[in-house]
Structure formats: structure tokens, C-alpha cells
Amino acid sequence: MTNKIKSRKGKKEKAEVSLEEKIYVASQYQLMWRKFKKHKLAIVGGIILFVFYLGAILCEFVSPYDIFERYTDYLYAPPQRIHFFNEEGFHLRPFVYKIKLEMDPTTWQRIYKIDRTEKFPLYFFTHGSKYKLWNLFKGDLHLFGTKEGTVFLLGTDALGRDMFSRIIYASRISLSIGLIGVFLSFALGLSIGGASGYYGGYLDNIIQRVIEFLRSMPTLPLWMALAAALPPHWSPIKVYFGITIILAIIGWTDLARVVRGKLLTLREEDFAMAAKIAGANDWRIITKHLLPSFLSYIIVRMTLTVPGMILAETSLSFLGIGLRPPVVSWGTLLSNAQNIHSVALCPWLLLPGVFVIVAILAFNFVGDGLRDAADPYK
């Protein structure tokens, strides 16, 4: 409260504010932002997440190829390297060399040889396969590509499909399932935890026992059992929401506990009492007075819950009981890497895992930064 008054004063006396004074007149959010900026890893994480989500939203545009397009001449092709130099020296426009399939005469394994005589320059904004962005806008423009030949940045899979495009498409599913799952758990946790903490008594006791019970079950086996019970004839979109709901079943308990704990202490505060005496109803007291006072804390918790959700979806899909092909998620892509012999020959099949790790690290860093920032006076 005092902070708000000070910031209002600050606006009036805008004239000359010394550096030290700036801290006193800054608003809550300015202080948080300032604190957040100091956390370098959080900034890096934030930028990574921004790029990832942007790529996921615009995946049709970012990926150079259609994800179902099969390049049968290039089964299990290794990643093609982008070059700036060749024998002639430096080129401003990067290019890739052509790759040629050869058979090892003794082992009959596929070997891709780089053909240095032919190079394909890379261009931004090339026209390629047709798509419908968000099922709304038709287009054939891609962020990058070659005019002739192919560019498989991260190699191809067993059917000769471009891994990079598939990973980008998969990020749309994997990253969104985390967010939707968290919002579901958020809604559940907030309402149930709120009721538990605000009303207390019997209701509180029952809800707490239910939470304890849900948390005492081993999560992965429970998820496995529930996910396996989803009818096999369901459409991908139904399975997607089914999985999200299954993840949220456990996810909400954590948040509900936090909300309950905070509400239990806050409802005894003077300002809550004052609101009650002034005639405000419960709904208004909870949403207008109590929730805002720990909203930042909840946002931090949400950021730290997303990685768990992403990980859970990846694990289930990897096991073959979550999302199933032809849906592409990081988990379904990784399930191609279950056979160690194919991984040994084509290690790039593990690359979706790198994206999983980077996304989770980024979320954790941002969460850490937000946690520090949520309490800027510390």
C-alpha cells in the first residue's frame, strides 16, 4: 500500500528524481522487472522460450518442408551442415553440399557421402510446399530453404521425412500441452484450494485428504493406466485433451495446497476483515482482495509446473500410450529412438530430446528469475 502512495507522489513530482529516489518511486512492477533483469539466466531462458513459442505458433512457415512429405532417396539422411566457406573462399550466402547415397559393399549399410562439386545456396523466404496457416491462411512461403536440392538441417527419419520440420511442428503440440495442462490445474487448484483455505472446517479437511490421497499414488503408473484407458478410436484432438486432463488430475494438487496455505493466513488479515465488515461477499473478498496479494507467487509456481507437464507428455508418448503417430510431438518423435541399434547408426534421432531439455531448462531459469523478482524488496 505504502508503495502505491509513493508511486503516485512520484508522478506528481516528476521534475527531478535522483537515482536513489528512483527506487522509492518505482511501481511494484517496475521493481520486479528491474530485479528480473539482473537474473541473466532468466533473461536467456525468456528469449529461448520466446523463440520456441514463436516457432511453434508459426510452425508451418518456419519449417522448410511438409512433415508428411517423404524423400525416399534420403532415408535416414544425416544432418546437412551449413557452410560459409568452400575452396573459392568465403560466401556471404550460406550453402549446403549435396549428399549422395552409397552402400557400404561389406556391411550393406547406407552411407551418405558429401558431394563437394554441387552446392545449394540457402535463401530466406522461399516458396515451397503449400500449407494452411492455423487452418485459415493459405500459403507456400517458408522462412528458409533451397531453390534446388534439399536442406535437412537435422537429418531425416526412417521414412525420409525432414526431422527439423517435424521437430518444429512437434513443438506446437508439446509446448501447448504444457500450457493448457497448467491452466487446467490452475483453474482447479485455485477454486478447490481457495474453497479449502477460505472456508476451512470440514470442507478443508476432506479436500486435504483427497489431495494427500492423490499425491500418495505413484504418478507415472497412474498416468499410464489412465492414458491406456483412452479409447483407441478417439480422434487425435480428443486424445490431446484427454492427456491434458489426465496430467491436470495430479497437477492441481500442488497449486491447491499453496493457495490454501496463503488464504489461511490472509483471511485473518485486517484488510480482509475490513472488507467483510464493509459488506463485501466472499467471492469479492477472495478475488478482489486476497488473490491479488499473492498472484505473483502463483505465476511463479505455474512457470515451474509447465516443465513437469511437458516431461510427462513426452514420457507417455514415448511409451506409446500418450499421443500416437501421425500426431507429432517431441515424445512421439523420440519413440522412434527406442531401438538402440538405429540410434547408434543415426544419433540425430535423439535430437528432439535436446529440444525437450532446452525448453525445460529455459522454463526453470525463467521460473527462478520470476521467483526472485516476485519479492523485489528482499
Binding site: R209, E212, F213, S216, M217, P218, T219, L220, P221, L222, M224, A225, L226, A228, A229, P307, L311, T314, S315, F318, L319, G320, I321, L334, A337, Q338, I340, H341, V343, A344, P347, L350, G353, V356, I357, I360, L361, N364
Partner: protein, 329 residues
């Protein structure tokens, strides 16, 4: 203390009972009842099933009766006779299939828990004492990455490295010559020589988390005045560290041992599937995929019992270590 113990015990029994209901619901989830598939299977094999046999089987499983009575039949058979029903995929009683796997899972989880503590506590202490040193940063980075890596991916990468650079296949828990034979000293030794990879994989995430906790708590403790006083009095640095701050910091960590166990059991199925270990995970997954529900449900029930017992033990340990919890109740 007795009151606290009794209350926890009652909670545990209630939770176990509720878990058994959940397991029963899981068994009932797929369409069609178990007996129809069983009879179909018998007929496929060419065995004639008489009406009388069907009736007696129906009676044995309590089919055709209301749900709650079917549930009591099921749970009564388990508690009284250890009869978990039949796995129609394997055509064997479930109880013949599960016990060895449950035992292996328990051994693996216990060893992984020991691994977590043995590795994490010394590193945590070291990191706290050498705060902001290069090694501290190194362990911080390793810790973050360990937390962020899904453990099945870690398993895949370890397998990949072992296969590619050392030419060995590290899946499984036994060498081929031991898989089919019964237990002997040689088999046990062989198991331990295979066990280290799953233990490292299962333990990594927990280790990473525990290093952070140990470091944080110990740093708080080291900043306290009694440490400064002791140092001012000239107590030797090692005595100063191990006599009080480490003991204080270690208490809550040791008492949450049961929760760690629970976490490890939760994460085990997927690692076991990747490494094709003969533990509960792969068989449960297979049972779920082929809707062999008595088998899947029994695994689920037993895993729940393991984790609930783990939680119960940590609750008791916590109360023993921290008198405040006893007082509260």
C-alpha cells in the same frame, strides 16, 4: 507420539483402501468383462467349456453381481488367498508373474535411493562450503541439467555411448546365461554388475534436486551466529562444520527418504522399459497395451502400496527427527 503414530496409521489404512478401489476401477475400465475373453481364449485353444464350468467361474469372480460385490470378491481373494486374478495374455495366475518383478523393482529403488544420498550429501556439503567456486558452479550446472533431462533420455544416451564407443549392449538386468535359471549366488552377482546403469539413471534427477537442497540449507545454517561464535573461539574448521551445521541440515533430508523412494518408484517404469529390465514397468506397460487388466491393476495396486508405505515411514521419521511435528498434533 503414540497418538501421532496411530493417526498416521489410520490414514495409511484408509489410503490403501481407496487405492484398492482405484485399482479396481482401472481393471474395470476397458469394455467387456474378463471372463468373456477368458472363455473365448479357452475355446480358441480347442477346450470345450461347459455351462457348469462357466457358472462356477462366474461365481468365483462374482461376475453378474453388482459392482461393489465384485469389488469385495476381488479384494477378499487378494487379502485372504493372495489371488490377484488371472492374466489371460500369459494364461497364468497374476501372482505367479508379479512377485519377482516387484522384488527387483524394490531392490532397484532402494539402491537408487542410497545412491542419491551417498552422492548428493557430500557434494551438497562441498558446494556450500566452497560457495561460488568453480566446482560449485560446475555442480550447479550439472544439477540443473540433471533435473531437466528426462531420465529415459539419459538412459538412451548412456546406452548409445556404451554401444557406440565400448561396443557393449547394456540393456537388461542379467547376462543371457542367467536369464532363465533360478536364483543363485552367480545370478545375484551378475545382477549387480548390470544394475549400476539403471541406478545412475534413476538417481540422477533426485541427486540433482538433493544437492540444491543440501547446499541451500547448509548455507543458511553456516550463516548463523553460533557458527561464528564457534569459529571465533577457535574450533577446528572440520569439527565446526560436522558437529552442528551438517547435522542440522541433514535432518530434514534424511527424514524425507520415503518420499525420494516414492519418486524413484514413480519414475522407474519408463527407465525400465528403455533399458528392458525385468522389473514391473515393461510388463505393466505391455499389460496395459493389451488390456490384460488383472495384471495391470495388480501392478498398480502393489506399486501404490510400496509408495504409501514409503510415505508412512517418512512421516514417522520426520516426527522422530523434528519434535515440532509431534507437538502440533
Amino acid at each position: 507420539m503414540l497418538y501421532y503414530f496411530l493417526r498416521r496409521l489410520i490414514y495409511m489404512v484408509i489410503t490403501l483402501w481407496m487405492v484398492s478401489i482405484v485399482a479396481f476401477v482401472i481393471i474395470q475400465l476397458p469394455p467387456g468383462d474378463y471372463l468373456t475373453s477368458y472363455i473365448m481364449e479357452l475355446e480358441e485353444e480347442g477346450t470345450e467349456v461347459s455351462e457348469a464350468q462357466i457358472a462356477s467361474l462366474r461365481k468365483q469372480y462374482g461376475l453378474g453381481q453388482p459392482m461393489y460385490s465384485q469389488y469385495f470378491h476381488w479384494i477378499y481373494n487378494i487379502v485372504r488367498y493372495g489371488n490377484f486374478g488371472r492374466s489371460f495374455e500369459w494364461n497364468k495366475p497374476v501372482s505367479e508373474l508379479i512377485w519377482e518383478r516387484i522384488m527387483l523393482t524394490t531392490i532397484m529403488a532402494l539402491l537408487a535411493t542410497v545412491f542419491v544420498f551417498v552422492v548428493a550429501i557430500p557434494i551438497g556439503i562441498y558446494s556450500a562450503v566452497h560457495q561460488y567456486s568453480i566446482t560449485d558452479y560446475f555442480f550447479t550446472i550439472v544439477g540443473y541439467t540433471g533435473l531437466a533431462t528426462p531420465n529415459f533420455l539419459l538412459a538412451l544416451v548412456l546406452m548409445f555411448i556404451a554401444y557406440k564407443y565400448f561396443g557393449v549392449s547394456v540393456g537388461g538386468l542379467f547376462s543371457p546365461e542367467y536369464t532363465q535359471v533360478s536364483w543363485s549366488m552367480g545370478k545375484v552377482l551378475d545382477m549387480f554388475s548390470h544394475l549400476w546403469i539403471p541406478i545412475i539413471v534413476l538417481g540422477t534427477a533426485g541427486t540433482a534436486g538433493l544437492i540444491r537442497i543440501m547446499r541451500g540449507v547448509l548455507l543458511d545454517e553456516l550463516g548463523k551466529q553460533y557458527v561464528i561464535t564457534a569459529r571465533a573461539k577457535g574450533v577446528k574448521e572440520s569439527t565446526l562444520l560436522f558437529k552442528y551445521p551438517v547435522r542440522v541440515a541433514i535432518n530434514p533430508i534424511v527424514s524425507t527418504i520415503g518420499w525420494r523412494l516414492t519418486m524413484i518408484i514413480s519414475g522407474a517404469p519408463i527407465v525400465a522399459t528403455v533399458l528392458s529390465l525385468p522389473t514391473t514397468g515393461p510388463l505393466m506397460l505391455k499389460a496395459l497395451l493389451s488390456q490384460d487388466m488383472y495384471l495391470a491393476g495388480s501392478f498398480f495396486l502393489l506399486l501404490c502400496i510400496l509408495t504409501i508405505t514409503g510415505t508412512f515411514i517418512s512421516d514417522l521419521l520426520l516426527a522422530l527427527v523434528d519434535p515440532r511435528i509431534k507437538m502440533e498434533s
